[in-house]
């Protein structure tokens, strides 16, 4: 064996070790996956659109600003055209992005808080706490979530707040079950036994040892939940149960359906916007699922 051979061998042997030492950031790990990167781009674009809505279209998007039924591309002032009342569709898309992202994220936050709270309590404290809270959870699960949300919004006045509340309180049960299963698993882990063995309080065990280890599946399902919440809001708005004071993609699709045969672009453009953001969130959730799974990263 020549000296050159030897150095080559030692170099190849050292290489995997070095790549192990170099710490990859979680974001880097996530964006190496094409689906996650695509989802990130779609969601980022939506976020930029939402952020710029007030700058590019400072007036109320519900104002009638032009001639009705202007097709996209006919008038450079209205790149996406106008609807039957002469409202700027592009302005609606920009401002609607705000509503969609706001409702999607806040409703998910509500669901995560309730779901993680109940899931943790039921998983950690067996006995009557578990029995009663799980019965409540099952009660919620027997009602179809969309109909439940519909009923809640119909009974209360439709507004951003009631829609967020309705979506939030109908989507936590699956999350609660997921968290409960994780907590049950961790509750019996050696790690938690050891923490009990040094006299740690329940609160500390839950906050320091259980939740941080149970959070990965919660993040994944929360990202999908945002998508579901956006779809639910759009469906409610389509049925006329959106907040009448704000423009929402669902309301725009709902309004456009009456002229679907003649001016299909009115319903289609906001529909495409919904598809993009929901697809983006699903791709991101998929990527998160892979990135948070340590078994997949070992490759």
């Amino acid at each position: 064996m020549t000296l050159a051979d030897e150095t080559r061998i030692s170099a190849t042997a050292a290489a995997p070790h070095q790549s192990k030492v170099r710490r990859r950031s979680f974001l880097g790990l996530l964006l190496r996956r094409p689906n996650a990167a695509a989802g990130f781009v779609l969601l980022g674009a939506t976020a930029i659109i939402a952020a710029l809505a007030g700058v590019i279209y400072p007036t109320d998007p519900l104002d009638m600003v032009g001639q009705p039924f202007l097709w996209p591309g006919h008038d450079p002032e209205f790149p996406l055209g106008t609807d039957m009342l002469g409202r700027d569709i592009a302005a609606g898309i920009f401002h609607g992005a705000r509503v969609s992202l706001l409702i999607g994220s806040v409703a998910t936050l509500v669901a995560v808080v309730i779901g993680v709270g109940i899931g943790t309590l039921t998983g950690y404290y067996s006995g009557w706490v578990d029995r009663w809270l799980m019965r409540v959870t099952e009660l919620f699960q027997t009602i179809p979530p969309f109909l439940f949300a519909l009923a809640v919004v119909a009974v209360l006045q439709p507004s951003i707040k009631t829609i967020v509340a309705a979506i939030g309180i109908t989507s936590w049960p699956s999350l609660a079950r997921l968290v409960r299963a994780e907590v049950l698993r961790l509750r019996n882990s050696e790690m938690v036994h050891a923490a009990v063995g040094i006299g740690a309080t329940d609160a500390r065990i839950i906050l320091l040892h259980i939740l941080p280890n149970a959070i990965a599946p919660v993040i994944v399902s929360a990202s999908i939940m945002v998508a579901t919440a956006i779809l639910t809001e759009s469906s409610l708005a389509f049925l006329g149960l959106g907040d009448p004071n704000v423009v929402s993609w669902g309301t725009m699709v709902g309004a456009g359906r009456e002229v679907l045969r003649t001016d299909w672009y009115v319903a289609t453009i906001p529909g495409i916007a919904i598809i993009f953001v929901v697809l983006g969130l699903n791709l991101l959730g998929d990527g998160l699922n892979d990135a948070l799974d340590p078994k997949q990263n070992r490759r």
Partner: protein
């Protein structure tokens, strides 16, 4: 028997698992004392009740389990009378435990320094900075090199032996009077085993801690225990100073255990290891009288007539009605 008064004194401990259908007795009538700076080894086969005994010392016997004893006195206070909250204050503070599996006993998402600091602050009101200094000191005491930097490491970057050292550091965080080590080295390599046990010995001497070492490894017992308690099917059948135990075993079971050890001579000749015939009786079907009688080569009808009482024998005690004649026959 000993000059020092015991730090931990267990009298007449019984652990039962009660359900509607039946009651299973895991441990019965177990008594032992451990003095400061002493290592008591509890040995026995799996299922003999040694691990559950260890858990009972910290009040951690799982739910349907019922712990009864005349007393489990830790530094003179009967822990059986403690409330759950008082018990929590004692755990990790006055009595601490090291578990079998260092690979899974540490939280993977929290740095080891954080975990040690948490353990200290659970029982003592001190500032984060002070706790941090104590954590560095503890890591040094368990011989972890470069302690200052290691504080920020996460468990997956440490080897099994290192993790067990961290576990020991956590257990010793509040200088407990009693350290319970439940097979602390079964998950580790033999060379690491020796290091860890040596470390426990050193730390024990430094701070005069009483150690209860649960093990099935007689080699470990020979090197690290001061006294040995042999359990069989939930009962103490023999207790002796470690040195005399290896010279003369009083109970036929203990004799069988020692005979079953592999030796260099048997390895060389590829002889079959000596075994104790049969297996441990299940908790549901305990034989009447001496529980070892069905497997014992020296059994006589009297053995199954009544429970053999624990009698003083030299520096130790044994629960066998024939121990005297058997030791004469030897």
């Amino acid at each position: 028997m000993r000059a020092a008064s015991p730090v931990l004194s267990v009298q007449d401990l019984s652990i039962r698992f009660v359900s509607k259908e039946r009651t299973l007795t895991a441990v019965e009538g177990l008594s032992f004392d451990v003095a400061a700076g002493e290592t008591l080894a509890i040995v026995g086969e799996s299922g003999c009740g040694k691990s559950i005994t260890a858990l009972s010392l910290l009040g951690l016997v799982p739910k349907p389990g019922l712990v009864e004893a005349r007393t489990i006195a830790l530094e003179g206070r009967n822990i059986l009378e403690f409330s759950e909250d008082e018990m929590r204050h004692v755990r990790g503070n006055r009595i601490a435990m090291i578990f079998q599996e260092p690979m899974t006993a540490l939280n993977p998402v929290v740095s080891i320094g954080e975990q040690i600091i948490e353990a200290i602050r659970e029982h003592e009101i001190i500032s984060k900075k002070e706790a941090r200094n104590r954590a560095v000191e503890l890591l040094r005491r368990v011989r972890i090199p470069d302690a200052e930097r290691r504080l920020h490491e996460f468990p997956h970057r440490l080897s099994g032996g290192m993790r067990q050292r961290v576990m020991i550091a956590i257990a010793l965080a509040c200088s407990p009077a009693v350290l319970v080590a439940d097979e602390p080295t079964t998950a580790l390599d033999v060379t690491i085993q020796a290091q860890i046990l040596e470390l426990i010995d050193i730390l024990k001497k430094e701070s005069n801690t009483a150690v209860v070492l649960i093990t099935h490894d007689l080699g470990v017992v020979a090197e690290h225990a001061d006294r040995v308690l042999v359990m069989y099917a939930g009962r103490k059948i023999e207790e002796q100073p470690a040195r005399s135990l290896f010279q003369e075993q009083l109970h036929p079971y203990t004799r069988g255990l020692l005979a079953a050890r592999p030796r260099l001579s048997t390895l060389a000749t590829r002889e079959r290891l000596v075994e104790i015939p049969g297996s441990v009786p299940s908790l549901a079907e305990m034989p009447v009288g001496c529980r070892f009688a069905p497997r014992c080569g020296f059994g006589v009808p009297a053995c199954t007539a009544a429970d053999p009482a624990l009698v003083q024998a030299g520096a130790g005690a044994v629960a066998c009605i024939r121990w005297r004649e058997l030791s004469v026959a030897e």
